[in-house]
Symmetry: C2
Subunit: 214 residues, 2 copies
């Protein structure tokens, strides 16, 4: 097996925007609405540095990875377009690049809220502790079932959802999909679902059992 | 926690089509484009029997579950609308109801093709063996990463995709989402991805290593 599905013929249009591939964030062309993974290995340092307001020409990243468009860089760019709000609802979140992007948006003043699954959040490599440490609001489930969603909503207008957990394993090795949808018919139900979960996972609703409980 | 999110206010419109709730398959109203799980427990026997061409009034199911619309019944109805082709690409498939629906479509002459993950397909409860036994074409990955997609395409026009694996655990206990999309901008890339995976997982491409290989 192998190969990087997002780099096949149907995305040649995007790839032929060659000049923009090395100028992350400046892409003017229509962004693909569907991203497939595994993502082609690529360096996202310039993209993240530029989003943080750092000059990237002064100290280019020394890593050997190509600075090309990839499904990961496209996902990052969609997220980094947030100006006001970002709701995230993820079963698993361990990707350092995506974690940095979310922290960067928080520092930029974007209202970030994260919902995640209790079983996964404490595992080694999880980004959840880092996000909390950075002052980002995180809530988790207290249920038997999994909080298995994998979606984000940018500025209440762009839904990013699919099979992809935000983990390096999934990004680099798995067959995965992510849809980017701006149609309110889809965005609104996910925002409603987020608010419903956000309220339900409010810590004031947690139940702590004592010996008196049966 | 708990509750069944798809039965909240935003779906009251669908619920108020009360007369159709007990006549599965006859619903004329606009079907919701987003389904949330866990699904409200409901009996889907009448829906499956009707799709199989059996008379349901003669022997109603004796189970105690309500025969109401649910996310599961809606998912089943979308699948059962297939007339010509059904592509399925699933990490995990163990739901008996969804398995029966797929077998039913196969018997009805719909061209069904299934792609799944090798690590999961042999586990107890998997539907994959039953589908193969029924004569349905199934291919699986031979990769280190997971084949983690969870999508289906009905008649090359309707994409059904989301976080939901087709397992009873996920349907009944997890927070999950499924989108139903008929926009070719989304359907086409998924069909292309399916064909790409289908060819790559062709058994003639399997590699069997002997002692001579290093």
């Amino acid at each position: 097996g192998g190969g990087f599905p997002q780099e096949t013929s149907r995305h040649k249009g995007a790839r032929l925007l060659g000049a923009t591939a090395h100028a992350p964030g400046r892409q003017r062309g229509r962004r693909p609405r569907v991203l497939f993974f595994p993502s082609r290995p690529s360096c996202t340092e310039a993209l993240l540095a530029e989003a943080a307001g750092l000059r990237t020409t002064a100290r280019p990243c020394p890593c050997p990875l190509p600075r090309v468009d990839s499904s990961l860089s496209r996902l990052l760019r969609h997220l980094l377009s947030a100006r006001r709000s970002l709701e995230i609802c993820l079963f698993a979140f361990s990707s350092p690049q995506l974690g940095r992007a979310v922290q960067l948006l928080h520092r930029r003043g974007v209202r970030v809220r994260v919902v995640t699954d209790a079983q996964y959040m404490g595992l080694p490599g999880s980004q959840i502790g880092l996000l909390r440490h950075a002052g980002i609001q995180v809530r988790h489930d207290q249920e038997d079932g999994y909080m298995h969603h994998k979606f984000a909503v940018v500025d209440r207008r762009m839904l990013i959802t699919g099979s992809l957990n935000w983990t390096t394993q999934a990004i680099q090795n798995n067959r995965e999909n992510v849809l980017v949808v701006e149609d309110a018919e889809y965005v609104k139900p996910f925002l409603d679902e987020f608010e419903r979960i956000w309220e339900e996972y409010n810590p004031i609703n947690y139940r702590f059992f004592s010996k008196d409980d049966k």
